[in-house]
């Protein structure tokens, strides 16, 4: 029996380089080997590394329709031993224990005599064992064994190639899937669409029945976004359960696979793949029920998990981008809304600037609050704090209105549909009044706490005033203060009672901004009104002063004229009367004299009427140094004081000028000095002090005169200013009475401080010129007409 090695190996090379499939090659290999070596049966057992077994995968003869399951474990029988030793092994059935050890072979070839095992291996790996079976005893020459080993080595190389090919094919398929996924996830920025794609692709790639993807905000524990695909079996653990099961090494979630049984005992499998998103977002992709081609549920293997993780990793980036995009979009939308509102606020503000009339401002305010193209509230009320500062009074209200068509907001704010100024109105006949007290409800509190309120259920809120509740009828409303320059001037109240549109934080924010502008406009209007009133008052005062200057000048001129004319008139008239006495009644001269007397009398009457009046009215009101007046008055009485041995102490401060009639004021001082002198008939000290004195209504010049005359009985003090009251023998009782009247006409005051046993102090206070605005309703300068009566 000759073996043509060259022929045999050539056949093998042809086989291994042919295009036939892997399994057919192995089949052909065992067949060729049997034929060339004249072996009765050649079998190939392939190694299953994971299980550590060698199982029949090809045979040289037909093994029947159903290949019998033949399996050796490592070290068992000839196959197991060959695999372990990795060297050829030839045994005879006659040897002890061979039959027992290889009894599995009895199933297919019970009457064997010789068994030969050859390892199919390359330098690194064992791929299986070739078993040669003969029904006759036989030996294998060295040459034959060498040839078989070469053949086995060639088979090993071929198997390795086939395995690599398979692996490569699988990897390419995976890459193709991943490529599809990648293409898909970058094709959209829309978050929901993206998630739908991710779950559907994952499910399809895994051939899973269902999939869920969910992204949760860890802080709020709220589901941010989620998507489902296919059938999610009932009673399956939820996302949180799966995420909870995942081992948390270093805080990051890892993938988890598990199985559960449903109510009918059916086994289900699931896999959870975490998505490692940035920030406090947590994502999880879950797949359920991977299916085999024959519709059996199957476990997710490590390769599946790896692929899913890769897929999840790719999706994570896109989801993050989509999340950012979504956030940007919502920010952009918010910005647009804000720009719109700010534009409206700007328009309103520029219209408010066009007027300083409070009435017009209030009308613009309620219109801005209720116009559909402005703030668009269903109803609005404006309250202002009244002058007393104790009550809020409703000054305007309005309901929602559409702007006149085609009219821009700025015009719509100041005109109605007919192009007229909008009519103002208050709710009902009587405006609502709210006392500004803590227990008077939200609107009062808006002022007291200086902060806006957002009331959701006015009917249930304990702080809502009944009057307001009747109008707002149990709905949501906003109440914001009109706050300008740190002062609350009123309140704006709005609601949406018709549309029931709920208020958002934004509404309160924008209404507060609006209220601030409104408050400024109201404040400005009030300031202007105050300034106008003051300006009017100043103009009046100035006019009066000019008038009095003019009259004084005229009066001074008139005085001169009166004197110049009066003396000659007295002489003319006086001598005419004398002539009249000596002229006979029937003398023709008499008629002439009478004419002279009559005409002189007429002139004198005119003079008296004109100049006596002006001369008396417009006295000598001027700015005077009060200390100089004190000194002048003192010289008039100095002789008397010396005579009675009275020492004068002067404590005169520097004083602003006082607007007064010097003669009258000198009389006041003279009378007071005289009173002091008369109180000290046997000597004493008269102290005169002048000093500026701040009173509630301005600055005054004060002149205090004290004597050491022992004072007067307390019960008499109240009479001291009464006319004709006197405690002295010499006195007329008029001095102090006149002094008091003069001082009163100067808008001043005399106070008396009586210290029994010591003396009396009279304190005269006179308003200082520049601080003394003559009060309205009084004429200036004061008339002097009483003393002479």
């Amino acid at each position: 029996m000759t073996l043509n090695r060259l022929s045999f190996l050539t056949q093998l090379i042809n086989l291994f380089t042919s295009a036939v499939a892997y399994h057919e090659r192995v089949d052909s290999f065992v067949y060729l080997l049997s034929r060339n070596l004249k072996v009765d049966l050649t079998l190939f057992f392939s190694l299953d590394k994971t299980r550590g077994t060698l199982s029949l995968s090809a045979g040289s003869n037909s093994l029947g329709a159903e290949r019998p399951r033949l399996e050796f474990s490592l070290g068992q029988g000839i196959v197991g031993e060959t695999a372990q030793k990795r060297s050829p092994l030839v045994v005879s059935a006659q040897e002890t224990g061979v039959r027992t050890r290889n009894e599995v072979l009895d199933k297919i070839f019970p009457d064997y005599q010789t068994l030969a095992g050859f390892p199919v291996a390359d330098d690194n790996f064992l791929y299986g064992v070739l078993l040669l079976i003969d029904k006759d005893p036989r030996t294998y020459s060295e040459y034959q064994q060498e040839t078989i080993l070469i053949a086995c080595r060639m088979l090993a190389g071929n198997i390795r190639q086939a395995l690599l090919h398979e692996e490569a094919k699988k990897r390419i398929a995976e890459l193709a899937v991943l490529f599809d996924v990648a293409k898909s996830v970058v094709s959209t920025m829309e978050l929901q669409a993206l998630l739908e794609r991710v779950v559907s692709i994952s499910a399809k790639v895994m051939n899973a029945r269902g999939a869920i993807l969910r992204i949760i905000d860890e802080v709020s524990q709220q589901v941010q976004v989620s998507s489902e695909y296919g059938i999610i079996p009932k009673g399956f653990p939820g996302m949180d359960d799966i995420a909870g099961q995942a081992p948390t090494a270093s805080g990051e979630l890892t993938s988890v696979t598990a199985e559960i049984r449903d109510a009918e005992g059916q086994k289900h499998y699931y896999a959870g793949i975490p998505l490692n998103l940035k920030g406090h977002l947590k994502g999880m992709l879950c797949l359920y029920d991977k299916m085999t081609p024959n519709y059996r549920f199957q476990q997710f293997d490590s390769e599946n998990i790896q692929l899913l993780q890769t897929l999840a990793g790719m999706a994570t980036g896109s989801i993050e981008n989509a999340l950012a995009f979504q956030q940007i979009e919502s920010l952009a939308a918010r910005n647009e809304r804000m720009v719109n509102v700010l534009t409206v606020l700007h328009d309103i503000s520029s219209v408010l600037m066009t007027t300083i009339d409070l009435d017009a401002i209030l009308t613009i305010l309620v219109r801005a609050l209720t116009l559909t193209n402005a703030m668009a509230y269903d109803r609005a009320m404006v309250f202002l704090i009244d002058k007393s500062g104790e009550t809020l009074t409703e000054v305007r209200h309005a309901c929602q209105v559409n702007p006149p068509p085609g009219v821009p907001l700025q015009h719509a704010l100041i005109m109605d549909h007919h192009g007229n100024a909008p009519a103002s109105a208050t709710i009902g006949n009587e405006p609502i009044r709210v006392p500004l007290k803590d227990d008077q409800g939200i609107i009062a509190r808006t002022v007291l706490f200086r902060k806006p309120f957002h009331i959701v259920r006015a009917d249930r809120h304990p702080q809502v005033n009944q009057a307001i509740r009747n109008i707002l009828t149990g709905k949501e409303f906003l109440s914001v203060p009109l706050l300008a320059k740190d002062e609350v001037t009123g309140v704006i109240v709005v609601d949406n009672h018709l549309s029931q549109r709920p208020f958002k934080d934004e509404d309160l924010h924008f209404l507060t901004m609006f209220a601030n502008q409104a408050a400024l406009a109201i404040e400005n209007s009030r300031l202007v009104a105050t300034i106008e009133a003051s300006s009017h008052e100043l103009t009046l005062i100035r006019e009066r002063m000019l008038e009095s200057d003019r009259l004084a000048a005229m009066s001074s001129m008139a005085e001169g004229l009166a004197h110049e004319i009066r003396n000659p008139l007295v002489s003319i008239g006086g001598f005419a009367r004398r002539i009249d006495k000596v002229v006979a009644p029937d003398d023709p001269l008499r008629q002439y004299v009478d004419v002279i007397i009559y005409e002189v009398g007429r002139l004198e009457t005119i003079l008296r009427q004109m100049f006596d009046y002006t001369g008396e009215t417009l006295g000598h009101f001027q700015e005077h140094d009060i200390n100089a007046l004190v000194a002048d008055s003192l010289t008039l009485i100095q002789r008397e004081l010396d005579k009675h041995n009275i020492r004068v102490v002067r404590e005169l401060a520097e004083m602003s000028p006082v607007y007064c009639d010097e003669r009258q004021i000198k009389l006041v001082f003279y009378n007071i000095f005289q009173n002091a002198q008369q109180a000290m008939e046997h000597g004493g000290v008269m102290t005169i002090r002048t000093f500026p004195l701040e009173k509630s209504d301005g600055l005054y010049a004060a002149i205090a005169v004290s004597d050491t005359g022992g004072g007067i009985a307390p019960e008499l003090v109240f009479n001291i200013f009464n006319p004709f009251f006197t405690t002295k023998e010499q006195g007329t009782g008029l001095g102090l009475s006149i002094a008091q009247r003069i001082v009163a006409r100067h808008y001043g005051d005399i106070e008396i401080n009586n210290e029994l046993g010591k003396g009396i102090t009279f304190t005269v206070t006179l308003p200082i010129a520049k601080y003394c605005l003559i009060p309205q309703g009084k004429t200036a300068p004061p008339a002097t007409d009483a003393e002479e009566d």
Partner: protein, 117 residues
């Protein structure tokens, strides 16, 4: 016979007053200014003085003050073309303040009143 001094810087007034008063039966002295008036007051025993206010040398008010200092009981009637001196309390020491008029009845009535005793 009661003795009256008329002090006035206007000659025509002095003449008018003197003639009218003499007719009434008084002895009349005259002075044309304040200094002269004081000299007469010191020299002659008088019962009454009619005094103009606006005079050269010394004003009637100062004259009045000095007269009242020396002779507090001597009645002085002020006779002035100015009505507004009434407000000057310096004039209040006088017995009467009369605004000059060509009708001398008021003046004569005042003289009679203060010389009654």
């Amino acid at each position: 016979m009661k003795r009256i001094l008329v002090a006035d810087d206007e000659m025509s007034i002095r003449l008018l007053y003197s003639e009218e008063l003499r007719e009434e039966g008084y002895e009349v002295f005259t002075a044309s200014n304040g200094i002269e008036a004081l000299e007469v007051v010191d020299k002659e025993p008088l019962d009454l003085i009619i005094l103009d206010i606006k005079m050269p040398e010394m004003s009637g008010i100062e004259v009045l003050r000095q007269i009242k200092e020396k002779y507090p009981n001597l009645p002085v009637l002020l006779s002035s073309a100015y009505s507004e001196y009434k407000q000057d309390f310096g004039t209040w020491a006088s017995e009467e303040y009369l605004v000059k008029s060509s009708d001398l009845e008021d003046l004569k009535a005042a003289v009679r009143k203060h010389l009654k005793d």
